[in-house]
């Protein structure tokens, strides 16, 4: 049964495809990040010049990293807070749990492009819901050209990201809370733990593994972020909403600077790996406290 041929037969296709399309290209990206390379001329080794250029001469790179960090921190705060809060509400003694779960979750399954275009309309200065709503409640002074102003555009996009993925954060917490054995809660209630104390000393410690999962998902998702920015602003106005993936896309496939694009991709890769590692370490340390 465990003949060499059968193992090869079952393993080879997946192995080859994965190696050719995922593994080798990563190595190639790292390799070519040390080269000056565009479509016109052959690759030329330039050491760390691409990386030095990024931090010293590329203002859009700096803006992109700042936006990325802003997006990451804001998403973590908003999604973790509202996702957890909704999960606590939904798992409490109420009717219509399934309905509410689905209402908050549905944006996570539809295309970010569709979500982005829908919100572009909502933010539209002339006919959009947001300005219309502000007029309705008499706050015309707060009306803005949301996506067309540098001061508001990044906030506008970040709120859409949270709108789309709060439901995702929520269902993971719902699953985790429902996995907690009922009698643990009952005995805690008998001991007098209610409301906030119950959540603080029972629920949060017990769903800790999921706090970590959500933390990694939101962070890595924010670092890789591209779709909504492309759909809503393409990085504008004046690159004020550019993120690293957007910048990498423009440099590589609009300006065909392959070597520099690879260097940007490598920075993104390192950031994702470091973030995952740091979050894992943080939570390992926290685990031992209990």
């Amino acid at each position: 049964m465990r003949s060499r041929t059968s193992i090869l037969f079952f393993m080879t296709p997946a192995f080859l495809l994965y190696t050719a399309i995922v593994f080798i290209p990563i190595l190639a990206s790292v390799y070519y990040s040390f080269f000056k390379w565009d479509v016109l001329s052959p690759p030329k080794f330039i050491g760390l010049d691409n990386f030095i250029r990024m931090f010293t001469k590329d203002d859009i790179f700096v803006t992109s990293v700042k936006n990325m960090l802003f997006l990451t921190v804001t998403s973590i705060v908003l999604q973790q807070f509202f996702g957890f809060l909704l999960a606590v509400f939904i798992t409490s003694k109420i009717k219509g749990k399934e309905f509410f779960k689905n209402v908050f979750f549905y944006p996570a399954v539809i295309a970010s492009v569709a979500v982005g275009l829908m919100w572009t309309f909502i933010y539209d200065p002339k006919f959009g819901l947001l300005n219309g709503f502000l007029r309705l409640i008499g706050l015309e002074s707060l009306q803005r050209q949301w996506l067309f102003e540098q001061s508001t555009a990044m906030w506008a996009i970040t709120l859409v990201v949270c709108w789309q993925y709060i439901g995702y954060t929520m269902i993971l917490y719902v699953a985790a809370i429902q996995n907690i054995p009922r009698d643990i809660f009952e005995s805690a209630r008998i001991d007098g733990a209610v409301g906030w104390r119950l959540i603080r000393y029972m629920t949060i410690p017990l769903v800790k593994p999921i706090i970590k999962v959500n933390m990694i998902l939101i962070t890595v998702g924010s670092l890789k972020f591209f779709d909504l920015v492309y759909a809503m602003t393409r990085g504008g106005p004046a690159h004020s909403t550019s993120v690293l993936a957007m910048h990498m896309y423009n440099r590589s496939f609009r300006q065909y600077e392959y070597g520099y694009g690879d260097a940007l991709a490598v920075v993104l890769l390192i950031m994702c790996l470091v973030a995952t590692l740091v979050i894992n370490l943080l939570f390992r340390k926290a685990d031992t406290e209990y």
Binding site: L17, I26, I94, A111, M248, D262, T276
Partner: protein, 283 residues
């Protein structure tokens, strides 16, 4: 004391009322935009400007055929279906074969091989784009559904292999041994026993792959340059260039892009929620 318990059972507590109120307000943030999208897709563009809040004066269904044919949405939908179908078949077949080998035909390096696949989790797709694009151009795989489908499948493999390995390692050994005693070959074992048994896990993989491939933008943007090959997400981003001032068909196009996914979500709802939660936690 007893009277308090009575009210708890028979009527809503203040706490519950607050929770209901907050959940309903929250729901409005999620349902109203969708409703607004729908009503505006049934108006003419001038009416969207003059009266964005109201129901349409006259229901204009023409926006839909307009988006569908003139806006090329029909083309994009077909392309997306072909691409998603191709990717699903490849990822289901290859990952189930690999998971079968990894869990049932264990060999010396099977643990290491699984770890090798798991590297794929940590890696953003961006880190492969340029080399892939250069190779694909050389082998004439740009603008090819199969080419892009293979990329989607490869990036779907790590999660698919992991989900299936988790499921397959729980299959009782007796089941497989009995089949071997009955004279089944290892290939028959895979095809007639393992595949049918792992249906729930295959379903999870299908849902996860569908959601990611059907909605994917970045890769499709890079690897499809010919407009007749565009997928729905890429097509939608081009739609705004085509209908610069004529918003009504664009509202319709967004509805067309959104509704099928929502219907599928409504049908497979429980499985989608469970599957996506499982996928996220495994990842």
């Amino acid at each position: 004391m007893s009277s308090i318990t009575m009210t708890n059972k028979s009527r809503l507590t203040v706490g519950q009322l607050v929770i209901y109120a907050l959940l309903i307000i929250g729901s409005l943030f999620y349902l109203y935009p969708l409703f607004w999208l729908l009503i505006n897709s049934l108006k003419q563009t001038p009416e969207i400007f003059s009266n964005p809040w109201a129901l349409p004066e006259r229901w204009i269904w023409e926006n839909y055929p307009d988006a569908w044919t003139t806006g090329n949405v029909s083309r994009y939908v077909v392309n997306s279906i072909i691409l998603t179908g191709t990717s699903l078949v490849v990822v289901l077949l290859l990952s189930s074969m690999a998971a079968f080998a990894l869990t049932q035909l264990k060999w010396k390096l099977s643990k290491l091989t699984l770890l090798y696949f798991l590297i794929g989790f940590m890696v953003p797709v961006h880190a492969t784009l340029i080399p892939l694009f250069v190779y694909f151009t050389r082998f004439n795989l740009v603008d090819s559904q199969l080419g892009l489908g293979l990329i989607y499948s490869s990036f779907g493999l790590p999660l698919a292999v992991l989900v299936l390995c988790g499921f397959l390692s729980a299959i009782p050994r007796e089941l497989l041994e009995a089949a071997v005693i009955d004279g089944s070959s290892v290939y028959g074992l895979y095809w007639r026993i393992v595949l049918p048994v792992s249906k729930p896990a295959l379903m999870t993989v299908t849902i996860l792959s569908f959601v990611s491939v059907w909605n994917e933008l970045l890769l499709a943007l890079i690897f499809l340059t010919d407009q007749s090959k565009f997928t729905l997400p890429v097509g939608l981003t081009r739609f705004s260039d085509l209908y610069v001032t004529d918003y009504a068909p664009m509202f319709a196009a967004i509805v067309i892009a959104t509704i099928p996914t929502l219907i599928l979500f409504a049908i497979f709802n429980k499985r989608v929620l469970a599957g996506m939660a499982e996928g996220a936690i495994k990842g």
